[in-house]
Structure formats: C-alpha cells, structure tokens
C-alpha cells in the first residue's frame, strides 16, 4: 500500500506543512516577495534559489519542507526517488518574462531567463538540490485533477528501483502560487493512504 508520508501546501495566503500552518506573516504583496519570505523563514542557505524563476522557487520551497520533515539526507546520491510534477500553465509565467526581452525594439534575450521557459526545470532544480537520480517528469493538465495525478504518480513506481516519488501540483502564474507537494512511499507503515480522496483533501 502506498502512503503519503509528508505534504506541503503553498497558496497566496499561507503555507501548510503536514496539517500545520507555518507562522509566516506575509508582508510582501507580490507572489515573488512571498516566496522570498518563505525562503528566509526556512533559512535554506541555497544561493541558487535566487536565480530560479517563480515556478521553480515555489516547487523548490515546498519540496524542501517535505524532505526536511522526513529528515532526508540531501548529500547521498539517491537512485530510488523520482520527481513527478504537474500544472496548468507550464512555464507561462517565465515565458512572459522572456518574451519581454525579445521585442524587436528592445532585444536582449537572457539565457538565465530562457532556461526556465520549460516547466520541467523545477523537477531538475529539486533533483540537483537533493541528488535525486530517479525519474523526473512533468505533465500538463487543464486544471488540478487528483485522479489524473494519481495515475501519473503511480506510473513512476513502475520503473525498476523506484520506491518513493516526490510529486504534486506546482502552479505559478502572474503572481499567484498554487502548490501541493507530497512524498508518496511504497510499503510505508505510516502516513495516509495514497488515493484520490486524500489528494483532494490535502489540496
């Protein structure tokens, strides 16, 4: 039986880790300033964070909280964990930023912005941070859909040697953050059952 052993939810108003609302008083009024406040609260000490686009920041922060709550050792190369995220808007938030840099009368395309115009970069950022060598995948859905996500996450467990999947919904667009990251583990004695009902409840 697969179990959800930890989860983190980030919205525009609050951060919830395993049912507990974190004591972060958002003072910033933009999505990106709120993400920076979460980063400071976590004291993550990871300079690469500041280079990330907002989608990667949001997915990174939620993943960071989930893995910390599980005492994950991010120094050991890990071939048994996969990362599977999904969202609605892919990398459109960063796509718009990049588009502004290639207007004919103001043309200065930046590789640092361009590299984030792919939704799966967030899965790569999380893999790099935590030395995760399993699968990384990104799916696009019209809306949050627990049933579809349950199917995609289950697929990742079919690959040989994969015993847990860091997964969920990582949506960020136009200043709005909507993230649910979960750790799903095979054969875990603890945690809540990994099913559509529970995914919907956490969301």
């Amino acid at each position: 039986m697969k179990k959800i052993t930890s989860y983190c939810r980030i919205t525009d108003h609050q951060v919830i880790l395993n049912g507990n609302k974190l004591n972060i008083a958002f003072s910033g009024d933009t999505g990106s300033s709120r993400l920076t406040e979460i980063y400071r609260y976590l004291d993550a000490g990871y300079a690469k964070f500041h280079k990330m686009d907002n989608l990667s920041k949001a997915g990174f922060l939620a993943s960071e909280m989930v893995l910390r709550s599980l005492d994950y050792d991010l120094e050991i190369p890990d071939g048994s964990t996969s990362v599977v995220f999904a969202n609605k808007s892919a990398s459109l938030d960063d796509d718009k930023r990049f588009q502004e840099t290639i207007n004919p009368n103001n043309y200065y395309p930046s590789p640092a912005v361009f590299v984030y115009t792919l939704p799966n970069i967030v899965t790569g950022e999380v893999a790099i941070r935590n030395k995760i060598l399993g699968e990384t995948s990104f799916f696009i859905l019209e809306d949050f859909d627990a049933k579809k996500m349950h199917i995609f996450i289950d697929w990742a467990f079919l690959s040989p040697g994969i015993s847990r999947v860091l997964c969920g919904w990582t949506e960020y667009l136009d200043g709005h953050c909507d993230v649910l990251v979960m750790m799903v583990e095979k054969d875990s004695p603890e945690g809540m059952d990994f099913n559509t009902l529970n995914i919907n409840q956490l969301y």
Partner: protein
C-alpha cells in the same frame, strides 16, 4: 511491450514518413540558411508554411483557423491514424501530446483572434483529441527535449493498464523567434549545418516538425516498444553531466538483462553541442555500448525539441525494419574522448533491437528499447 501500427513525420523534408526516410537515405538535409530576430545568420530546418497550409486545407476543408503548429500536429496525427485504420473517436483510444512550447509564438503577436487559452499546452492537447472526436482527456508531457520519449513511455502505461486499445502519440514543436533567440542567447547554435559527434562540432540547429506513432496493445509482428526509462543527472539545469549519470542509468533500466551485442544501433540525441555529444559517449561506454554503432539524425532535421523523440524513433525504426544502420550525417573526424562507435556509412545488420536516447534541460535523460520481431 506495445506494438507500432503506423507512423508519420511532417518536417522540412516532407509530410510523410516515406518522403522523410527516403531523404535521410539520400543524405538530404532540410537545414537551410535563415536569420534570427536580430538579423544574425542561422541554419534552421523549417516546415514550408505555405505548403503545409495548402495540404492542411486540402485534407480537412475546415472553416476554423488553426495555427501552423496545430496544422502540423493535426496533419501528422491524421495521416498516422488513417494508416493504422483505428477508430480515433473511440473511448478505447487515447491521445498523448509531446511538446515543449506548442503555440508559444502567440505571446509575440500584438493581437490575435485565437483567445487567451490557445497558448496553453493543455489546450493544444485538447484540440488534438477533440479534432478527431476523441472523448478522453489527452495526456500532455512537457519534459524538455526528452518529451517525445516520455510520451511513448506514457503510451506503454496507458496500453498495459488495459483501459485503451490504441494510443496516438504526437510530438510537435516549431521554431518561432521565442525559441531561436533563447538558444542564440545560450550560444548553442551552429551558424552552419551541425556536425554531431565530429571534432569540429560547434552547436546545434533548430528544426520544426510534428511526428506521430500509433501504438496498439494487440501483439503483432514488426516493431514493438519493449521498455523505456527516464533518469535525472542531478547535476545542472542546462549543462550535461560529465559522467553521463542519468543517461547511463536510463540505459541500464531500459536494457535490463539484454546484452549489448543484441543491439543493432543507438539512435542518439547527438545535438552537436560539444558537451552533449561527449556526455553521451561517456554514458554509452559506461553502459557497455562502446562498440555499438551510434548515429544522430540532427544534421537532417535539426533539433526538433518536443517532436525529436517521436520523429527520430520513426526514422530509426524504419532502418531497424530494413536491417540497416544509418550513417551519422555530418560526422567526419572523430572528436569525442573515450569509447564510441559513430556510424560512418550505411551498413546492414541482422540484430533485432535498437535504442533511442534523448537528453534535455533540467538534467533529464531517456532511453527507449525497441524490437523488430518476426
């Protein structure tokens, strides 16, 4: 294991698999001189937009307007569906779309009549399934340059889990200013035609394409997709790993117990950037594939991003069917350290398996294992 029923490629080299495969055998390239948005010279493989629109209108006689990206995708899917003879509107058929940027060119238009949802990949996928009257919500994968492999792996799961009889996998990406300027800013483009695995390789060319494979779950002789695997390098978001860790692991899980001597060839990613090609050689060698013939198709089609995994599988599978190992076009002087057997000329093989590999931004790598069964 799932079974290939039909396929199609819409690219600069033609709108059928036969035309594209013939062009490859004749050593032709669709890569021609062009300009980027700032007027710098580039080499690029573009679909003939006028010819595509004319073919699209002749084929479908529809009133609604479709973007060029949608036309390429729909035409490719249509041709493959016709050839397979499947019922695309059945609830036992599912569509899978592989694309990195889909209709992203819409962001650069001052105004258009397509509506605000049209730029979204979920919309493109819904339009694909809806066009053929399919009632199922399509699967959309967007995993950078390995998307075309991920889409085929999704097809394995969809078919093996028993809810579907047929899966239509379509990959599509064009090369609008958005993408060209991004790769230009990375300084990863070769102004001339690219030279994968060659000592003088300087970078990649971009390419436009849509490609489709229709898979079924009913066992049949011919080509099957045996297994696929995706693994991350956990190294860098835009730089290939020096140890080829992710690709090595993807190959290991895709091959499992199959000895390397059973593999006819590897259709590699081979983008012709200095680091990618070197990384692949390290991974192949580590996986015991140092003497297996390797070729890249990028000098024919350019790098077609989300379409690449499907397009290059289609060409590789034609070669496997005919017992041929293709030459790696653009390769002249060995320029890779370590053990790699880059295919120099067309040769025959009686082996029945081949590998397709891909690597992409975000550190992701994929390997697909195909078989040609009698």
């Amino acid at each position: 294991m799932i079974f290939k029923l039909s396929d199609n490629i819409v690219s600069s080299l033609g709108f059928t698999t036969a035309a594209n495969y013939k062009a490859v055998l004749e050593g032709k390239s669709g890569i021609t001189p062009g300009k980027d948005a700032a007027g710098n010279p580039i080499s690029i493989s573009r679909i003939d937009a006028g010819k595509l629109d004319a073919t699209f209108q002749d084929t479908f006689h529809v009133k609604e307007a479709y973007t060029l990206a949608e036309q390429a995708m729909l035409l490719s899917a249509h041709i493959a569906i016709q050839e397979a003879g499947i019922n695309a509107s059945s609830d036992r058929t599912c569509f899978v779309l592989s694309s990195t940027k889909g209709n992203i060119h819409l962001l650069g238009l001052p105004s258009h009549d397509f509506g605000k949802d049209r730029v979204h990949l979920w919309h493109t996928a819904k339009l694909l399934a809806g066009f053929f009257g399919n009632p199922n919500f399509p699967v959309t994968v967007s995993n950078a340059c390995i998307s075309g492999a991920c889409a085929q792996i999704a097809a394995i799961h969809l078919l093996e889990q028993g809810n579907y009889d047929h899966v239509v996998v379509t990959g599509m990406d064009l090369a609008p200013d958005f993408i060209v300027s991004g790769f230009q800013s990375f300084k990863s483009l070769d102004q001339e035609r690219c030279r994968p695995f060659d000592a003088r390789r300087k970078g990649l060319n971009l390419g436009e394409a849509a490609a489709t494979i229709v898979y079924g779950k009913e066992k049949k002789p011919g080509i099957s997709l045996v297994k696929g695997s995706i693994r991350n390098d956990a190294n860098h978001i835009s730089g290939p790993s020096r140890t080829g860790e992710g690709l090595f692991r993807a190959l290991q899980t895709a091959m499992e117990d199959l000895p390397a001597c059973e593999i006819a060839f590897i259709s590699a990613h081979g983008t012709a950037t200095p680091y990618n090609d070197q990384m692949e050689a390290v991974a192949f060698s580590r996986a015991g594939l140092g003497s297996t013939p390797v070729f890249s198709l990028k000098a024919h089609f350019g790098h077609t991003l989300g379409a690449a995994g499907v397009l290059e599988s289609v060409i590789a599978l034609k070669a496997l069917e005919q017992g041929l190992v293709l030459p790696s076009t653009g390769f002249q002087e060995p320029g890779i350290e370590g053990e790699i057997n880059v295919s120099k000329s067309l040769s025959k093989t009686d082996k029945r398996f081949c590998l397709k590999t891909l690597s992409g931004f975000g550190g992701c790598n994929a390997a697909l294992l195909f078989q040609n069964a009698l």
